[in-house]
């Protein structure tokens, strides 16, 4: 069956006047829904960003003060008792194993 040649311009016109605007509006609406945030959200985001920056500055000041007071405060921050007393139970069990069963190893 041969394709009727008279239909080609019709398809062209359809594509140009319906397909193209459809595509454009489709992308425009999608762009609008994804990209925009409301003015309130924008103000909120601005405030949060500003707050984060200010808190960052304050935190840096405090860290500098603590650093001047005690240069290795980060390691002292943890409980010294906990840091010094490591868990030796594993090693004790291993030693006990070795003393109890020397014959099996050899």
């Amino acid at each position: 069956m041969e394709f009727p040649e008279a239909l080609i311009p019709l398809f062209g016109i359809l594509a140009l006047f319906i397909g193209l605007p459809w595509m454009i509006f489709h992308y425009v609406t999608r762009w609008k829904t994804t990209k925009t945030i409301t003015t309130q959200d924008e103000d909120l985001l601005d405030e949060l960003y500003d707050l984060a920056r200010r808190l960052d500055d304050r935190m840096s000041t405090i860290e500098r003060i603590v650093q001047a007071e005690n240069p290795n405060w980060r390691s002292l921050g943890r409980d010294p008792v906990e840091a010094a007393l490591e868990d030796r139970s594993e090693r004790i069990y291993e030693a006990a194993d070795r003393t109890n069963r020397p014959s099996r190893r050899t």
């Binding site: 925009t36 945030i37 003015t39 960052d56 860290e63 980060r74 921050g77 010294p80």
Partner: protein, 126 residues
């Protein structure tokens, strides 16, 4: 505070002609020179439709409010990110707060533990 930051503005301060290219660069965070070169290339390659587009944009778009010129580079970058992807920037702010929380926790642990150690030493001296 009042001027919306997610709109397109003409950047008159770094404008060559009407500030459309500078505005695009400011909006997206691209380099101004690159935007200008791209527009000129587009004009030569695909016909002179960019000229009316330029004029219409220059005529329709508002000028950048004066307070937005006073943003520092960090802020500028942040708002360019918001225009690109608001959610990612919201997550970015959240991560900043988490980082702050962690640092504050470190300092808090140090201060409280040093207080308790001091109390212990005073007890031993008695």
């Amino acid at each position: 505070m009042s001027a919306p930051r997610t709109k397109f503005y003409l950047d008159k301060q770094s404008a060559k002609w009407s500030g459309v290219c500078a505005g695009i660069a400011d909006y997206t965070g691209m380099d101004v020179t690159l935007v200008r070169i791209a527009v000129v290339l587009l004009t030569f390659l695909s016909g002179p439709w960019t000229l009316p587009a330029y004029w219409i944009t220059a005529w329709m778009a508002p000028r950048k409010p004066i307070e937005l010129y006073q943003q520092d580079p960090d802020q500028k970058k942040f708002w360019q990110g918001v225009r690109r992807n608001p959610h990612a920037m919201a997550r970015d702010v959240r991560s900043r707060f988490r980082e702050l929380d962690r640092r504050l926790a470190d300092v808090e642990t140090y201060v409280t533990s040093s207080h308790s150690r001091l109390a212990q030493e005073i007890e031993q001296l008695r």
